[in-house]
């Protein structure tokens, strides 16, 4: 039995006097793809920051890859929220990815890098860029790339150190529908090598590649299954199911549909469906909405 990627026990955290997280317990085995859902202000991002060691818990235990948070260094890849980086920063794509190789502590700060090390770093950065499909863009200025491409550069930066755990903060926010699908396909591929934890408020990202779901709204409910049930749906959006569906979907033509879990019933419309609401013409017309 290998070490779990994440172990959290009786964790709580408070900003000022208000507890934003309370009684959080989670054991995430290695190899999972966990989607962390929850309403805004529910504590999702705080949980991620606790895992990264950017904030210290009020109480309880956190271990990431068997170490206290913030001490696993390059074994954790991190994709911060999209808005963090200034769009006009003068840096090439390759250099931005290379920054993911910085070593922790004072030793990593030095500006002088030997030629051999520089070549190794360039190679690693190019490999990471190839993995996200941007090797051709290595010498371009980061600001010349589109939003979706830039997000992939940051994923390359997160994986350049060969991490065992990838932590993503709203990876699909502010990218368009197509880039989002490409991004999710890339993450599914990366998941064959590393554990992934993805914070998202975008329910449409929770498709086939996610293996488990955690709903965070002050507390944490873990579902070792990526099926979206009405209960999970209510937890994740912070809405009362009695009041009605909190998600407003509107589309012309096709009935919007989504999230139907894989099953073997041959009389149904054929196996596994997971799709966004763009209205796949081959998809099922009445896919069960939120209550598959």
């Amino acid at each position: 039995m290998s070490t779990p990627a994440i172990e959290i026990s009786d964790l709580w955290f408070a900003y000022g006097g208000t507890r934003v997280l309370e009684g959080v317990n989670l054991t995430l085995p290695a190899g999972e793809f966990l989607a962390v859902l929850g309403p805004n202000g529910g504590g999702k991002s705080t949980l991620l920051r606790l895992l990264l060691g950017l904030v210290t818990p009020g109480g309880g235990g956190v271990r990431v890859l068997g170490s206290p948070p913030g001490e696993a260094g390059g074994r954790i890849g991190y994709l911060p929220q999209f808005t963090q980086v200034s769009a006009s920063f003068p840096i090439t794509v390759l250099e931005a990815v290379r920054l993911g190789l910085i070593r922790p502590g004072l030793l990593g700060l030095g500006g002088f890098v030997g030629r051999a090390q520089r070549r190794r770093e360039h190679e690693a950065a190019l490999n990471a860029l190839a993995r996200v499909g941007l090797a051709d863009h290595a010498q371009r200025r980061l600001s010349d790339l589109s939003g979706g491409q830039r997000q992939r550069v940051f994923i390359a930066r997160a994986i350049v150190s060969g991490p065992e755990l990838l932590l993503l903060d709203e990876p699909t926010a502010s990218v368009d529908g197509r880039s989002r699908q490409e991004l999710m396909a890339l993450l599914a591929e990366l998941n064959t090598e590393m554990t992934i934890v993805m914070v998202s408020h975008d329910m449409s990202t929770v498709d086939g590649c996610v293996t488990s779901i955690a709903c965070v709204n002050r507390g944490l409910h873990f579902h070792a299954d990526s099926r979206l049930t009405p209960d999970i749906f209510a937890e994740a959006t912070g809405a009362d199911p009695k009041v009605g569906c909190p998600v407003e979907l509107f589309a012309h033509g096709k009935v919007p549909h989504r999230v139907v879990h894989a099953h073997d019933d041959p009389h149904c419309c054929g196996g596994r469906h997971a799709s966004g609401f763009e209205g796949d013409p081959k998809g099922p017309k009445a896919g069960g909405g939120q209550g598959a």
Binding site: I91, I102, L106, V113, R141, D144
Partner: protein
């Protein structure tokens, strides 16, 4: 200009301008990409307290001001790290407090008759040789420190949260950058004065940022632009008999205006050509 070069004071002024340009290019770039222009302004103005203190105690101005501004800068760095929420307000208070302290101390200085304006608007034409040496030493300290921590400063400037997640001591780097800014401000006070420091710290890096592909390139280009503005401003000041600091800033502002009129970027085509 050639005849002007035969005067020692003018040669000193040019040297002071060039030294300040190098430092402004390096530190100004860091200030701009880290979005701490307001903090730099706070340090520049609070440093007037150091000038007042130096006169009150009858000590040499530059070293005392350097110490005082560094202290003020570290206070501000601490404030921004601890009370993020209202940091800008507290910086504003420190900004004004430093200036007020300076003025009061000068009031209290018996027989005071130094030229107040020279610290507010610069006195580059009156830089003595000793000050040049002191400026050179400060420049060397700043450059060595930046080179020593170059990678960390780059990572922090690019993405603070990512840097922190990788165990980069961002807190230390923030204090370091503020300290360096203070030293830079003290050097530039001689050239354009503490009120105009901000222009020299921000205009060249702003112009350079969109035309460079690396932070180091941005620093180099800013330094070159800064030098151009200093030489141009000095020439203007000499030939039209204008205040030197203001002339330098005027030239910089004209350059800024021109750069806005130039096409925004050619890097798009250039990059496409490379790819």
């Amino acid at each position: 200009m050639m005849e002007a070069l035969s005067f020692e004071f003018f040669r000193n002024a040019l040297l002071a301008g060039l030294l300040a340009s190098v430092i402004c290019g390096v530190i100004g770039s860091l200030v701009v990409v880290n979005r701490i222009v307001f903090l730099a302004g706070g340090v520049a103005h609070a440093s007037y307290g150091g000038v007042g203190l130096a006169f009150y105690l009858g000590l040499p101005v530059l070293p005392v001001t350097a110490g005082f501004s560094t202290l003020a800068a570290l206070c501000m760095a601490w404030v921004t790290l601890t009370s993020r929420e209202r940091a800008d307000t507290v910086i504003g208070v420190l900004w004004a407090a430093g200036m007020a302290l300076g003025i009061i101390l000068l009031d209290l200085t018996p027989g005071y008759n130094a030229d107040l304006m020279s610290y507010l608007f610069g006195s580059i034409l009156a830089v003595p040789v000793e000050d040049l040496w002191l400026m050179a030493a400060l420049a060397a300290v700043v450059l060595v420190l930046v080179a020593l921590f170059a990678r960390g400063l780059l990572v922090m400037s690019f993405d603070t949260d990512f840097a922190r997640s990788r165990g980069v001591p961002v807190r230390f780097l923030h204090f370091l950058l503020m300290g360096l800014t203070a030293l830079c401000v003290v050097m530039v006070i001689r050239v354009v004065g503490l009120i105009l420091v901000l222009a020299l710290l921000t205009i060249p890096p702003f112009m350079a940022e969109r035309r460079c592909r690396s932070l180091a390139g941005m620093m180099l280009l800013s330094a070159a632009l800064s030098a151009l503005f200093c030489v141009g401003g000095l020439w203007l000041s000499y030939s039209l008999d204008l205040t030197s600091g203001a002339s330098i800033i005027a030239v910089a502002c004209v350059g800024f205006g021109l750069s806005l009129c130039l096409p925004q970027r050619r890097s798009q085509e250039k990059a496409a050509g490379r790819a």
